[in-house]
């Protein structure tokens, strides 16, 4: 290294080169570093642009469409102006209600298994495949429910319930994962104190651990609901879609906000496309409010 010194200054008394000497390539190394830092900054900015474009464009084109009427009237034929997505809002709310009733208790129970009874190989496998399950293609879940419930053994046909089952399967891994994280945060002292007072294990879990993790569990559930409400593909194969408001639990094809947006945006008439933007705005607001509120509750409970 000493041979590449820029100006061989007098060595220090001990014979080493001075710390003030710079290597010949110091300048190019610094320049390269600056180039890379700029590139990273550009990448960062570029990554934020799509979000801004989405929020801006959906807001701009959807704002004029969303009115009271948009929530109270069903969709007219695509070429006709006016009307709304009432059947979509009802359908999504109905499906989500059922899906929440299925996915959240099951998911939290599975998370209790993982944290309170886990540790074994089986629990490890559940954990692992739960993570893997977050990556199952959504359309495949739809196909599975179609084969199993819609036409399969049970012959339930299309409807709200089968749609909800499909959405619940999409939500389940998210609920399990986030609930597990939250239950792990509950300090063991709390459990021990509860045991010390004579509680049985189920009482410890139900009366101490779950309430202590309450806000965190809400966070995870809200994130799962946000994800579920935005799903389209599983519903395409299970709820199918409908032109009117449907209140039947099963047997009549049900609509959803996402299905209406999907169908509205791939047809050619301007009025229908406009409503699709309105629906997109409504959906985006619902999903983002849920997501942001969930994070907010989550971050607050971590501080406490």
């Amino acid at each position: 290294m000493t041979t590449t010194m820029q100006r061989p200054s007098s060595p220090t008394p001990s014979g080493h080169r001075s710390l003030r000497d710079k290597e010949e390539n110091a300048r190019s190394r610094a320049a390269k570093n600056r180039v890379v830092e700029t590139l990273l900054l550009l990448g960062m900015i570029l990554a934020i642009v799509p979000l801004i474009l989405i929020l801006f464009e959906v807001g701009r084109r959807g704002a004029g469409v969303v009115s009271l009427e948009f929530f109270t009237q069903a969709e007219p034929p695509y070429r006709r102006e006016g009307g709304g997505y009432a059947q979509g809002f009802v359908g999504t709310a109905y499906i989500m209600l059922l899906a929440v009733l299925m996915a959240i208790p099951l998911g939290i129970a599975a998370a209790v298994y993982l944290t309170e009874y886990g540790g074994g190989r089986l629990a490890k496998a559940v954990q692992f495949f739960n993570d893997v399950m977050t990556g199952v293609p959504s359309v495949f879940v739809g196909l599975f429910i179609y084969a199993l419930l819609v036409v399969g053994t049970l012959q339930l046909r299309f409807g709200t319930f089968v749609g909800a089952v499909a959405i619940a399967i999409m939500m389940l891994p998210i609920v399990v994962r986030s609930s597990e994280e939250m239950l792990k945060l509950v300090p063991p002292e709390l459990r021990n104190a509860s045991f010390g007072l004579g509680a049985r294990k189920w009482q410890v879990v139900m009366k101490t651990v779950l309430p202590a993790a309450g806000p965190g569990l809400v966070t995870g559930s809200m994130l799962a609901v946000a994800r579920g409400a935005g799903e389209t593909a599983p519903l395409l194969l299970t709820a199918l879609g409908s032109l009117q408001i449907v209140t039947a639990l099963q047997g009549t094809a049900q609509s959803s906000l996402t299905l209406l947006i999907y169908r509205g945006s791939i047809q050619p008439f301007a009025a229908g496309i406009q409503r699709a933007w309105g629906g997109a705005l409504a959906l985006l607001v619902i999903v983002l409010v849920l997501t942001v509120a969930a994070r907010w509750i989550g971050s607050r409970s971590q501080v406490a």
């Binding site: 990273l40 900054l41 799509p50 599975a110 179609y146 036409v151 004579g198 593909a233 933007w277 959906l283």
Partner: protein, 328 residues
């Protein structure tokens, strides 16, 4: 509570009331809830594969390399011809485009956030990128189809087609919805998951080793290049594969942007179809036998994404229990 009273008048700690069954029952209940994850996954594979079996048996391996997809209309037998190569090709191509675009960007974002960003900006920045994961895919489809692709991607494609049209990958005719449009939007959609996991993986990397490199006089880039990237390499591969899994399985946005034809072409600008998109696009008009063929596509897609996901999770799990929660 009919337990015998102890001499002091308190009831015995050994009391055997009816509640003694509660614990085993509770344990059994939560264990079966945990098992349900495995059961659902197993049931998924078993049910769809057995339903789609007639298609696989009839087509054999030709299901995967056959290029002719002719839907039949029979209720009872298999009359059509089912070669899924056009969709397999479309899936692989769009996912590749998405990865090629998203990976460098995700690396840049993760490195910027962990190494360069001012402390106060770290959280807001990762938050902003990860909120992209919360946007429903149908909104990506709508936004891509009616705004992003016509305004930004189409002019870019015209430019490339004009300059490099002689190259098979960029030859015309130019469709607005095509492999490339779908790939670009998929890239935006998988950006958050790759970023989130890469960020966590880099976070796990030893700060001491990095400080050591800085103490030896390395510049920031040299630390990134020689210390962080090699150390985090398996995790980054895992993150990329998770992104790949998402891109392979993405349905609605791809269905709206890829073109929806049943053919395939070498050009990036050809309007083709992906496996997931083809299921969504044609399911409604499918006759019973074609539904079986769509199920077969679904099974093939599921197996591929499962393999990719399992490998990715194994790679990432070795580093720590990293899940990219922020972006699921």
């Amino acid at each position: 509570m009919n337990a015998p009273e102890s001499p002091t008048g308190h009831r015995s700690l050994r009391v055997e009331d009816r509640g003694r069954l509660a614990d085993p029952l509770f344990r059994w209940f939560v264990t079966s809830a945990g098992m349900s994850v495995l059961v659902i996954l197993a049931l998924m594979i078993a049910r769809t594969t057995s339903d789609a079996w007639p298609i696989f048996r009839r087509e054999g391996l030709a299901f995967f390399y056959g290029t002719q997809w002719t839907a039949g209309f029979s209720r009872t037998e298999i009359t059509g011809e089912y070669g899924a190569w056009p969709f397999i090709y479309g899936t692989l191509l769009t996912a590749t485009i998405a990865i090629v675009i998203a990976l460098p960007l995700a690396l840049a974002v993760a490195l910027y956030i962990t190494q360069l960003a001012p402390k106060r900006l770290k959280n807001p920045l990762s938050y902003t990128v990860e909120i992209l994961a919360a946007v429903p895919s149908v909104i990506y489809g709508l936004w891509g189809l009616l705004f992003f692709v016509p305004t930004f991607v189409r002019p870019f494609m015209e430019l490339v087609n004009g300059a490099l049209g002689w190259f098979p990958l960029f030859e015309g005719p130019l469709y607005t919805v095509n492999y490339f449009s779908a790939g670009v939007v998929l890239a935006i959609m998988i950006l958050p998951i790759i970023t989130a996991i890469t960020r966590e993986v880099i976070g796990v990397h030893s700060q001491d080793v990095q400080n050591g490199a800085y103490a030896l006089g390395a510049t920031r880039w040299e630390v990134i290049r020689r210390v962080i990237l090699p150390g985090s390499f398996p995790g980054i591969v895992g993150a990329t594969m998770l992104g790949l899994g998402r891109a392979l399985g993405e349905t609605i946005a791809a269905a709206m942007l890829v073109g929806g034809s049943q053919r395939w072409g070498r050009s990036l600008f050809f309007a083709g179809d992906t496996m997931a998109a083809h299921i969504a696009n044609t399911f409604q008009d499918a006759a019973p036998e074609t539904v079986l063929a769509l199920l077969a596509i679904g099974v093939a897609l599921f197996i591929v994404t499962m393999v990719v996901n399992v490998f990715a999770r194994l790679l990432v799990w070795r580093i720590g229990h990293i899940t990219g929660d922020a972006a699921v």
